[in-house]
């Protein structure tokens, strides 16, 4: 047994309860705490650092959740990290949905539209393109590679203004297409699918499918696509988050508030506080922000394992 284990106060040791699943096969619980071959020793420094990062990420979220329970009055009166006297979360939520004839619902539906069509389409295109680039040889492939890598390096924000000018000439600004079409392109998603498809689909399997008489389309849908599932989910998450949080592109593309996504709508609500005679609704801005991130948090929690496996894709060459 190591020093670490024996120096632990008894209270901190795991109770010998049967609920620790990993302990089933271990005859002695203490081994879990000790230095097991192959498992690195606990580092106090790392634990503290991880704890700090955890605080750093969780505190703003906590602030948001707590603040969403306050009225405009409570927001000004009470400390940010604890509840005010009155608990107004439910009132805030119902007011958020009903304020200004329920415009929040409209913005929510807009965002969903942009995500389903934009992020969904981007994922589909990334799969198709990534698969083709990974498994087929054609002239100019190196050129495509250079373009894709170059495109990954260019932030979308930098392209927003040129895109606006182009769309303006095509008469597409101020329509949902102005947000959806640029969202359809995800160079990073394409690159990720490319790397992932190279690794995940054995060439032999494709050969076998072809020998068995499957056409290219059938090979793609019935053989390749199921193997690409983890990568697909990863790309879908990436593009969903990017589209859900998209602010700058809709900001310059859309004039009509009826087509605003949630990000622009919340910003507009926030700006109300800056106008003469404006209705100050910081409580609704905060509650609206909370409601806006809930679907993203849910998506992350549900698809977490795919997200992780996808992130590691291509990192190790076998």
């Amino acid at each position: 047994m190591s020093d670490t284990s024996s120096s632990l106060p008894t209270a901190a040791r795991p109770a010998p309860a049967p609920d620790t699943g990993g302990a089933r096969r271990a005859p002695r619980l203490r081994t879990r705490r000790g230095r097991v071959p192959g498992r690195p020793r606990r580092s106090v420094l790392l634990t503290v650092l991880t704890g700090l990062v955890l605080l750093y990420t969780v505190v703003p979220l906590l602030w948001l959740v707590i603040s969403a329970t306050k009225t405009q009055e409570g927001l000004a009166d009470s400390s940010g990290l604890w509840f005010a006297d009155d608990f107004a979360l439910w009132d805030n939520i119902s007011e958020t949905f009903s304020y200004n004839d329920g415009i929040f619902v409209r913005w929510l539906l807009n965002t969903l539209l942009y995500v389903v069509v934009g992020a969904g389409g981007a994922t589909l295109l990334a799969i198709l393109g990534g698969y083709a680039l990974a498994k087929f040889n054609f002239p100019g492939k190196r050129g495509v590679f250079a373009v894709v890598i170059g495109a990954v390096a260019v932030p979308g924000t930098a392209l927003a203004v040129p895109t606006f000018l182009m769309f303006s000439k095509m008469g597409l600004t101020d329509t949902p297409w102005a947000v959806i079409i640029p969202s359809l392109v995800s160079p990073f998603g394409l690159y990720l699918m490319w790397v992932f498809a190279t690794e995940a689909i054995p060439n032999e399997l494709m050969e076998a499918a072809r020998i068995d008489g499957a056409g290219e389309i059938r090979t793609f849908f019935q053989v390749a696509l199921p193997l690409l599932a983890p990568g697909t989910v990863t790309v879908l998450l990436f593009t969903t988050v990017a589209t859900w949080n998209n602010y700058f592109l809709p900001l310059i593309m859309l004039k009509d508030p009826d087509w605003y996504p949630l990000t622009l709508g919340l910003d507009a609500w926030n700006n109300q506080a800056q106008t003469i005679g404006g209705d100050v609704i910081f409580n609704l801005v905060i509650t609206g922000s909370l409601l806006t991130i809930v679907p993203l948090i849910a998506a992350f929690l549900l698809l977490q394992k795919y997200w992780q496996s996808g992130l590691a894709a291509g990192s190790v060459k076998e």
Partner: protein, 445 residues
């Protein structure tokens, strides 16, 4: 951004005529639409026929006005778009005008920005609808801001004669008298901050609208516009009075470095750490919704004077409704603007907390006797109406004030954070404004 008033430039007429001549040669038919006289009968006929009017305005009281208007004229549909305000609003409006697409039929335009749009022929002259005959309905300040000679570019929606809002609870707690001159104001600032280092007399992190209004009240007239000749000069006696006083507050760190209109600001107004606010008469509405927790703490007082007994005041903010030249359904649009800013709409808007620009409302006993629950029952409108009557005249803004305001923080703003003196900051603002004006083709001195 939202609280300045302007007066149209004298040279505007000249420039507009030049521009008109230029476009007329091109044979554009856009010009004629705004210039043809439209009779009241034409407007009535249009109202009977019906149609829709798109209104870009963030003024919250217009919601009720639009609903009432539609009730009165069931065939007219008012499409009120109010999600954008301030700079974002002007960007969208300018973009729509230059793209000649999606231009609203009616747009809210603040007084300080009117010049920019009328100068580029972006607005319809409302005199063709008979708006010039409404002159006597409005107080002189706002009317001067919307009119130029016999041209009228908008109908005044509200006005912002300045008053000093102060947190009575804080002043009472430290037994400090409410300042009536700016010298007393500096004294009060010292006493307050000494009594409680967390309390500041005011917040000021550099705000173009506030500074220009303060200069206005101090008697400075930095902007002179004559034809296409523009001059910018921040070195007159009035400006010196202002910089000498305000420099003391900055040097001794007696003003809180919080930007206005932020959540910090609303919080400071609520918890007593910002003790006074010199602002326009429209402020009560923002107090009521933005700082509900300080209800009863605040009062309104006349602006402190630069010399004891002087009653001179200034305007801060206020806006008009204008008809962009490229808008459609002009008859209906004008009918709505007149209803909102001169007709029955005024009373419903005043009831909801707007501060009127019309003389009838300002002299109305019921208006003056209104007790503000938020101000502990004070009849605050008497203070505001008094201020409105004492607004110093002859102030004008630049025909490119919006740009000038946008560079305020790069120039004067330095005085709030570094070793730059306020007067030097104004000098560099002056230089930058002159440079821009020259680039835009003005003769600038």
């Amino acid at each position: 951004m939202r609280r300045k008033t302007s007066r149209l430039m004298r040279g505007l007429a000249v420039l507009s005529v030049l521009a008109l001549g230029a476009t007329a040669c091109g044979g554009s038919d856009d010009d004629s639409s705004g210039q043809k006289p439209v009779s009241a009968d034409d407007v009535q006929a249009a109202l009977k026929k019906g149609g829709s009017v798109t209104v870009w305005a963030w003024e919250p009281t217009l919601k009720t006005v639009a609903a009432d208007f539609q009730k009165k004229y069931p065939k007219v549909k008012i499409n009120l778009v109010g999600e954008r305000s301030g700079d974002k609003h002007y960007t969208a409006l300018s973009n729509a005008i230059s793209a000649k697409k999606g231009v609203p039929d009616v747009s809210q335009v603040e007084y300080f920005a009117l010049g920019q749009y009328s100068l580029t022929k972006g607005l319809t002259d409302l005199a063709s609808f008979g708006a010039d005959k409404l002159k006597d309905k409005y107080t002189p300040g706002p009317w001067n801001a919307v009119s130029e000679g016999d041209k009228v570019y908008g109908l005044p929606m509200d006005s912002g004669p300045m008053a000093l809002f102060y947190n009575k609870k804080v002043f009472d707690k430290y037994k400090i008298a409410v300042p009536t001159t700016w010298d007393e104001y500096v004294d009060a600032a010292r006493k307050l901050h000494k009594a409680d280092p967390k309390v500041y007399i005011a917040n000021d992190a550099g705000d173009a609208g506030f500074t220009t209004s303060m200069l206005w009240q101090a008697g400075s007239r930095p902007y002179k516009v004559d034809g296409t000749k523009v001059s910018v000069d921040f070195s007159d006696a009035g400006a010196k009075k202002y910089t000498d006083t305000w420099q003391q507050l900055i040097d001794e760190k007696l003003v809180s470095p919080i930007n206005g209109w932020t959540d910090d600001w609303y919080k400071g107004l609520g918890d007593g750490t910002i003790a006074t606010l010199a602002s326009g008469a429209w402020m009560p509405a923002n107090f009521t919704t933005g700082v509900p927790n300080a209800s009863g703490d605040w009062r309104a007082a006349p602006m402190p004077a630069w010399t004891k007994g002087d009653k001179a005041s200034a305007e801060n903010g206020g806006s008009s409704l204008a008809l962009p030249a490229l808008g459609k359904n002009k008859e209906l649009a004008y009918a709505f603007v007149e209803y909102a800013n001169s007709g029955a709409g005024v009373q419903s808007r005043v009831k909801e907390g707007a501060f009127p620009a019309t003389t009838a409302e300002l002299k109305n006993d019921a208006f003056l006797d209104t007790e503000f629950k938020y101000f502990g029952g004070q009849k605050a409108n008497t203070v505001f109406a008094d201020s409105a009557a004492n607004v110093a005249d002859d102030w004008s803004y630049l025909p490119f004030q919006q740009y000038a305001n946008s560079i305020f923080n790069d120039t004067v703003g330095k005085a709030y954070v570094g070793n730059t003196k306020l007067a030097d900051g104004l000098k560099s603002w002056q230089d930058a404004s002159v440079k821009y004006g020259k680039e835009q083709g003005f003769t600038v001195e």
